[in-house]
């Protein structure tokens, strides 16, 4: 069983995919805003950040990854202003019941808990899956950071 997981796929699409989605989402944002953008900077920052994450989730393979799904779900729910934690807690308790007796003792589970809080959708994943998703998430994050860096460098005043 352990040897059956050999081909772990953590390929991430190219940077242009990320750039495409990000720019699309940004242009969407611009369309949504009034052109005078009367809102405060904070709101704008949050919108951009959210757009960044959503576009990253879409670029990184749509719904084929757990965390991207969780991200998209979270974004969709935030627009409707619905609390998002219900599903997560349910799965966590189910998992915990099985392995609860040794979890508090192990160092690793504490770290896994922290990781779960960081990676979106982490509460619904078992530890091995969590680690795989984290690897993919790190790759996508770094790609997104590169894209945004390019954009900022390109658009900042010389």
């Amino acid at each position: 069983m352990a040897s059956a997981d050999k081909p772990i796929n953590t390929d991430v699409p190219e940077k242009d995919v990320f750039a495409l989605h990000f720019l699309q989402s940004l242009s969407n944002l611009r369309r949504q805003n009034t052109f005078n953008s009367p809102e405060k900077t904070n709101d704008r920052v949050k919108k951009i950040k959210k757009a960044a994450y959503v576009s990253m989730a879409r670029a990184a393979g749509g719904t084929s990854r757990l965390w991207s799904r969780a991200l998209l779900r979270r974004a969709a729910k935030e627009t409707n202003k619905v609390v998002r934690f219900s599903r997560r807690k349910k799965r966590v308790t189910w998992l915990r019941r099985r392995s609860n007796r040794r979890d508090p003792v192990e160092e690793e589970e504490k770290e896994a808990e922290r990781l779960r809080n960081l990676v979106p959708g982490g509460g619904a994943m078992e530890t091995s899956k969590l680690i795989e998703e984290t690897a993919y998430y790190i790759k996508c994050l770094s790609m997104q950071v590169k894209v945004m860096q390019c954009l900022v460098d390109g658009l900042s005043p010389k």
């Binding site: 352990a2 995919v17 969407n28 040794r102």
Partner: protein, 357 residues
């Protein structure tokens, strides 16, 4: 030879308890060793060869087992068979103690001490060497050490809170076994929980290796907790970077409004004046687009479509706005952006949209 045969056969069994006791008491030298064996010399040689030419002690231990279990000369590979008898558990414990004692005897000709912890490592290393002997000895020696591991594992399981022991145990086994896959072991086979747990643990370790390669500077660190710490720090730093970049983007924002629209719309008609490398870029883009077009189409057809109509709608206003603002700055910034995107090979979007239209 006839005298030797019956004498050895007769002397074998009655010799066992005193033999064991003598081992237990730590009395041993070469003479005692050979006397203890009470086996024909060929078999003694085999035993020696089986254990290790250098360590008589393990041979003694194994010989002890052999004496206990099967009286007439058993071939080497039947040790494994004999070891699988359920009645051997007690004998195996004895054997464990014996090899420990034997190792102690090897190191110092002193008395027997009851400690097994300090000498388990040496005995493990002995067994490691034993294990690497090719041929039939493999299975038996592995089963021997597995049984010992099983003993320790059972003890650990009883303690139930000993997480670190489990970790060391699993790492120990990983060192010992030449292959890494789940296998039923003695003393554990009935426990599906531990099997599943071990499989799970191995999965986790495999993926942790992946992560270690990904995060810079994680190769040197030993131990999963610290590696996880590093990974968490890395993820947090990446998220903070995203937040900072989005803040900077927001600061640049008022210019993005128009630039992006113009940038995205410019490729449709290539109506931009003063775009000195606009044509060059457009020429460069199509061949890139054709490569990725299939992947895009394959992956998502829905999100771009609502955007297409918006781009159509956006064509006119940006031009108007652009003329209001003046051409120079906008064009240079656009070109800069486009060039950056080109450098990063991230500029397929406008043509992509165009193609889908």
């Amino acid at each position: 030879m006839d005298l030797n045969g019956p004498r050895s056969a007769a002397a074998g069994p009655p010799r066992e308890p005193p033999g064991l006791e003598s081992l237990h008491l730590g009395g041993g030298d070469a003479g005692g060793f050979t006397a203890l064996l009470e086996l024909p010399p060929t078999q003694a040689v085999e035993l020696l060869h089986f254990a290790d030419p250098s360590s008589q002690a393990t041979a003694v231990a194994v010989a002890g087992i052999g004496l206990d279990v099967s009286p007439p000369p058993p071939p080497i590979h039947s040790y494994g068979a004999s070891l699988t008898f359920p009645s051997n558990s007690v004998l195996l414990e004895r054997a464990a103690r014996f090899s420990v004692m034997a190792n102690e005897k090897q190191q110092q000709n002193g008395n027997v001490s009851g400690e097994t912890t300090t000498t388990t490592t040496s005995s493990n290393s002995n067994l490691d060497r034993v294990k690497t002997e090719p041929g039939e000895t493999d299975s038996s020696s592995q089963r021997l050490e597995n049984n010992r591991c099983g003993k320790r594992k059972e003890l650990d399981k009883k303690v139930k809170g000993s997480a670190t022991k489990k970790k060391s145990k699993s790492s120990e086994e990983n060192e010992k076994l030449p292959y890494v896959h789940v296998r039923a072991r003695r003393g554990q086979a009935t426990d599906s929980h531990s099997l599943a747990e071990r499989a799970r643990r191995e999965k986790i370790n495999a993926r942790m290796k992946l992560l270690q390669e990904l995060v810079p500077g994680c190769d040197k660190i030993q131990g999963t907790a610290l590696v996880l710490d590093e990974i968490i720090n890395h993820v947090q730093s990446l998220q903070r970077q995203v937040e900072m970049l989005s803040m900077r983007l927001a600061a640049v924002n008022p210019r993005i409004d128009f630039n992006l629209d113009t940038l995205l719309a410019s490729e449709n008609g290539s109506l931009m004046d003063g775009s000195f490398n606009g044509t060059a870029m457009q020429l460069a883009w199509p061949h890139q687009v054709t490569e990725t077009e299939q992947s895009f189409h394959h992956r998502q057809l829905q999100p771009p479509q609502p955007q297409q109509w918006t781009y159509d709608g956006l064509n006119q206003p940006p031009w108007g706005r652009e003329e209001d603002q003046g051409h120079g700055n906008e064009h240079t910034s656009l070109m800069a952006v486009s060039e950056n995107m080109m450098v990063g090979s991230a500029s397929l979007h406008p043509n992509q949209v165009k193609m889908e239209m």
